[in-house]
Symmetry: C2
Subunit: 221 residues, 2 copies
DNA sequence: CCACTAATGTACGAACTAGTACGTTAGCTA
DNA sequence: TAGCTAACGTACTAGTTCGTACATTAGTGG
């Protein structure tokens, strides 16, 4: 370490509000996801940043508001990913399968987000309810699902009587459970749902399930 | 209510180890489910029982062990329910549907259990791992699913290549998500997944999904 | 009915934890 | 370059929280 790290400031004290806030949010995300809201320690979060606890209160106001800010940013990431969805040029079956797989991938790649959502549910979604940013944003994925669904239903390809929200719930439930309940499921049944070797297996299982549901022969009904 | 309640003991102090323990577990279950492990307060749990904090440490050893005991009992309840499963006299399709519906019902009726499982996953299932009782019990439902599945696959009725554990995961994921993520889902998409008016809708959706998956025409594969 | 133990209650302490009062400085602007 | 303010650091406190030392009593076996 021959001084390539820090530009050797007089006191090492650099002022960068945006960077400080981002760093606090990064660390807070990890900590909240790791041990829950009540389990997280403001002192511990501060200690893991290059700044101090004072800054957390300066920028966010308190522990509760910090958690809300963490949630807002986490939901922002998934919304961004959904906005870059490009599946509507595919036929309905392929489009839905692709969309399900994207959800599958995103959940797997963001276990911290999954944990934050679990935690927020323990707290009755009170932070979401109290956030202006999170209150009024419908998922972009929902619109995409809605259009594909309508297309498939109009052509008679999709026989199931579901709307976009319910189908989104179905897809999410599988992806969410796999990541969120990984530990208890593994401990009780001896199977790691997030085992990389089984990744393709579960990804196909999800797609097969959703497509089978949508296109099932309902003549007997 | 003219004195049917308490038999008017001298000091109101009755000794009943089993009842005291059960009462502590009841209250602890509610508290842990309500605010999580770190959020729960030993003093608060004690205050809600007819006994004192001292007894929690006397019988359980500490907060951590109390949580483990709460989990053990909660899992015991679901195992008991699963043991009274009686679906093997039905044809495979009806049996699986019935089994899925029982899971659906049980999850809906035990939201506290769902929350405890969510919390335990936040903590990496360390309490399950450290519990002798919880380590070695396979779900009775798993055996039932396994037998039905084999029966359906042998007869050619079920085309899907899944085993009991995976099918259990599929069924559980839908039931679990609906209850566990009720709050965030409701806040974000404006739909209450546990709305009683929609109960039958989601119950049918689950059954349709599972059966469609198992019996899908896979000629094109 | 006596003695002994399981069961219970009270009071307290050490450590932690969210939040704040107060002081300092970097860096931009006039 | 003087001065002003946003950005930052230190030190502290009031209240909480898990856990325990010590005292007490109900009920049972002999």
């Amino acid at each position: 370490m021959t001084s390539v790290e820090e530009p050797a400031r007089p006191n090492g004290r650099i002022r960068d509000a945006a960077r400080t806030q981002a760093e606090i949010l990064d660390v807070a995300t990890q900590e909240f996801a790791r041990v829950g809201f009540a389990g997280a320690r403001v002192d511990e979060i501060a200690a893991r940043t290059r700044t101090t606890k004072r800054m957390i209160y300066y920028y966010f106001g308190g522990k509760e508001q910090l958690f809300t800010a963490v949630l807002e940013r986490a939901y922002g990431v998934i919304r961004e990913a959904e906005q870059s969805l490009d599946v509507e040029h595919l036929d309905p079956v392929a489009a839905i399968r692709r969309l399900a797989e994207l959800t599958f991938d995103h959940h797997e790649q963001h276990p911290d987000f999954i944990r934050l959502v679990s935690i927020e549910n323990i707290h009755g979604a009170e932070h979401i309810a109290g956030s202006e940013k999170l209150g009024k944003i419908g998922s972009p994925a929902l619109d995409v699902i809605g259009r594909i669904l309508e297309q498939g239903q109009r052509s008679g390809l999709f026989t199931a009587d579901v709307d976009a929200v319910d189908l989104h719930a179905m897809i999410s439930s599988f992806c969410f459970f796999r990541v969120a309940n990984r530990h208890t499921f593994g401990a009780l049944f001896g199977r790691d749902l997030v085992d990389p070797a089984q990744r393709e297996h579960y990804r196909n299982m999800l797609g097969d399930m959703v497509i089978a549901y949508l296109t099932a022969d309902r003549a007997a009904d």
